[in-house]
């Protein structure tokens, strides 16, 4: 399958998943998998597109997604100093961080913008992202990692 079609389909499916599970971010694991596979250019373009989608569909002022993705990327490189990114503990640690980071970031952003949002709303989104992270990682890595010398999508 051509790379463009794969990522377009992935994005469409993610938007649908977002409509069923408010607060979940399905794009995050795919972005980190792109970094793990050292596809930095793909990560940059996809990250920019997903950022705009998240900002456009969201109800916070522009900027939260930039910090959200930057934090994830920073933490990805930080954990790489201690754990191999092929290790399952790496993915689990990153999932744990993603959940905690989403909870902290969106709670702060909501306070910064003087909005009233129930903590449970943000907490449920963070939990969903945390639980989806390993699943998303396995799915995306399974479909994008080069197999037997030949790159899949």
């Amino acid at each position: 399958m051509p790379v463009f079609v794969f990522w377009l389909l992935y994005t469409v499916l993610c938007v649908w998943a977002h409509s069923f599970f408010p607060g979940l971010d399905c794009f995050a694991p795919a972005l980190i998998v792109c970094l793990h596979l050292r596809r930095y250019r793909t990560a940059f373009w996809l990250g920019s597109i997903w950022l705009v989608i998240n900002e456009g569909t969201g109800s916070l002022a522009f900027g939260s997604s930039i910090v959200w993705y930057c934090g994830l990327i920073l933490f990805f490189f930080l954990i790489q100093l201690f754990l191999s990114s092929r290790h399952i503990y790496f993915v689990l640690t990153l999932a744990l961080f993603a959940g905690g980071w989403q909870l902290f970031l969106y709670s702060s952003m909501v306070r910064l913008q003087e909005l009233q949002v129930a903590q449970e709303t943000i907490l449920s989104g963070s939990l969903m992202t945390m639980l989806f992270f390993p699943v998303g990682w396995i799915l995306v890595q399974g479909m994008t990692e080069p197999r037997g010398g030949r790159a899949s999508v």
């Binding site: 938007v15 989608i53 456009g56 569909t57 109800s59 930039i66 909501v110 709303t121 989104g125």
Partner: protein
Amino acid sequence: MFRLKFKYIFFAFLLPVFLYLGLYTWNSRTGALDRFAAYTGMEFAGLVLAPGKWITARTRTLWNRYFFLVGTVEENERLREKNDSLKLEAIKLREKASELERIKSLLRFSPPDDWDYEGARVIARRLGPNAALGTIFINKGFRDGVYKDQPIVTPDGVVGRVYKAAPHYASVLLLTDPNNHIPVLGQNSRTNAITEGQGLDEALQVKHVPRNALLFSRELLVTSGLADVYPKGLPVARIKKIKLLELSLFKKVVSEPLVNPDRLEEVLILKRNDQSDPLPLTSDEFRILE
């Protein structure tokens, strides 16, 4: 050595932080990035979700057909076919009748003077990790004359107001969201108050009702038209509970919204007839006017 370290810290941490803060401040002043995200990201999400709604409806119909056919396998072949086709016809007609009923009730709605209305379909609810507020997505945007803060209603009552508008889609802040405050007055008592949401499926708080103000149990609360967002007289909620607190100067009032935003399929957008410029003012334009 110190200069090298400072350079490293500056480029790795301080510069991105300054850039981000600059971008954030510039956007909060102009709203340019918010508009850009709405015109691109929201539009894309709308384009993805709108056809999906149609596919879901078709799939549901197919599933219903299959389900009913499987349930009658043991019956006589001829009778079963006839029975099935009649059942399917009934389901289709029932669905059409309920849709017709909904549309008829929308058409029966008479807008206040100087206001016109237009129907829209709900295509999604809260979307993505950024969707902290209680919102719904509708299939009409600023190309259809929808702009920020436009009232959204049903024949039963107020739904909320437009929060963000893209070219063909818009998000609506629901009346049940804690950030949506609607100025209301009691239909009989004429006491002014403000409703505040407490979340989906939760009652509305009615705030700023003085201790000695008149307010009746089960009284209907209608929009007062004070904030110049909603026209006067639209039903919002019905009073559920009134409590007098010993130390407070205000009554504690809880009301039930007349519309259940969780079950909405179609809504009405209220438009001012004298609206000459449907696009919202930008912060710069607003400052110039001031």
